[in-house]
Amino acid sequence: MTSIPSSTNVLGALFRADMTTQWRNRRSAVLSLLVPVIMLISFKNFVSVVGAAYVMSTSITIGIAASCLMGYTNALARDRDKGIFQRLRVAPMPTWAIMMSRLGVQLVTIVVSVLGVYVIGFYIDHIQLTPAAYGFGMLAALIAASAYLGLGQLIVGLVKNPETVNSTTRLVYLSLIIIGLFGERGGLGEEMKTITKWSPYGTVKSVLAAALEPGAWTHDSTIALLATLGYAVVFTAAGIRNFSWTSR
């Protein structure tokens, strides 16, 4: 009688291997944290002007977008191209376990990144939030990450070549961040301000800003939260639908 390994054992083995891989590639994870760190340093003298929630939410949004879009998506595209997924797919396990393990590692990375932003924000910008704000902020960051992971999944679903995936994620990341940063303040006109507000950058940032300042949660924050969840569902569903385990 052939025995099937339990899903827990399979997930454990995959997670341990994926975490080891992530740890050995920690340099790239640290580099993706550099942009929010630079942001925190640059905004040091403006915290009292724009508010702590604005600075923190902007930094976390940028950090999460970098980690999900460039880290997760490119790793997925690279491993698919090398045939690593095909080797795993011939094993007796459900294919969702492969992605679940990857997502688990990504969530750990995001938690570490957000904690990094909290710590740097505290020491450099002297931003101190309430424990509830830190907690809600972390929760909002994980929800926000689901939208960007979904977007990454969509890119890797639509684009096969790992080099093209790499350039596409950079393009999407830079577009989101640059248009987001300039657009949200009205620097690109009123129309762009509205578009930015309801773009994946804008909704994620609104949710994060409101979560980091729970007293300031408004009806718009709730709509932004629903929009973020909507982006996550739509991007992920489209990404899974178009995903191919091989790049050929």
Binding site: I4, K82, I84, V90, P92
Partner: protein, 252 residues
């Protein structure tokens, strides 16, 4: 051990595998031979569960691949053409990963013992990419058989190996047969097929043209004018039979 019946694989309008049927018995090395694009990889991919066949039945150790895919996969060990493991992991970490995936308890001592068996005791801490081609294939074969599968699928296992490494791998494949496992291997090397396979199937244009023991095939076609026309130095080999059956044209 493996039964394939009326297997069909289509890619859109292209019929890659047409009504392929064969079986692999316990303690047998079965070779699948064919030129590029003949349908070998599509057939193997369907057996491995990597692609969904258009029609046909595949049973591995008695388990229907469609109805009991996880049981069927647990009963087979696979060595893919490209040995694709995470480049950041060491050999022992890769062994631990696949032991976990197949539910095989694995201690550090056991890993050391397994690596000693394949003469790679000093490679435990090396990254997979740092190993030579022959060493990579040995690790790959070790992982394919880590859970003692009843059927082992090997996709061109000796491609790119030097003669010593190739001979060593043949011995390991024969040792798998000695344990009573069934082995299905694809190869372009007729020398390999003659040396290790108990039976071979020649496949071309998606169809099995003939299945028999290598020596029987040679004997059967020894006097065939087409075989004699392609034979070199007066001695008929399996390669001559293969060329006569599949044609001289080089496939893309």
């Amino acid at each position: 051990m493996l039964e394939v019946e009326g297997l069909n694989v289509r890619y859109g309008s292209f019929h890659a595998v047409k009504d392929v049927s064969f079986d692999v018995r316990p303690g047998e090395i079965f070779g699948m031979l064919g030129p590029n694009g003949a349908g070998k990889t599509s057939t193997l991919s369907a057996i491995e569960g990597l692609l969904k066949p258009t029609s046909g039945n595949i049973r591995v150790a008695g388990y229907d691949l469609r109805q009991k895919p996880l049981h069927a996969k647990a009963a087979m060990g696979v060595q893919l053409q490209a040995t694709s493991f995470q480049a950041e992991l060491t050999v022992s970490e890769i062994i631990r990963l696949f032991a976990g995936i197949y539910g095989v308890p694995m201690s550090a001592d056991k890993i050391e013992h397994l690596l000693e068996e394949i003469k790679l005791a000093d490679a435990a801490g090396k990254k997979f990419g740092q190993l030579s081609g022959g060493q990579q294939q040995r690790v790959s074969l070790l992982i394919a058989t880590i859970h003692q599968p009843r059927l082992v699928l090997l996709d061109e296992p000796t491609t790119g190996l030097d003669p010593q490494s190739r001979r060593q791998l043949w011995e390991r494949i024969e040792a798998i047969r000695e344990k009573g496992y069934g082995v299905l291997l694809t190869t372009h090397s007729m020398e390999e097929a003659e040396a290790v396979c108990d039976r071979v199937a020649i496949i071309d244009h998606g169809q099995v043209m003939i299945t028999d023991q290598p020596q029987n095939l040679i004997d059967r076609y020894r006097q065939d004018p087409e075989v004699l026309a392609v034979s070199r130095r007066g001695k008929v080999t399996l390669e001559d039979v293969f060329i006569a059956l599949t044609g001289k044209t080089v496939r893309a």
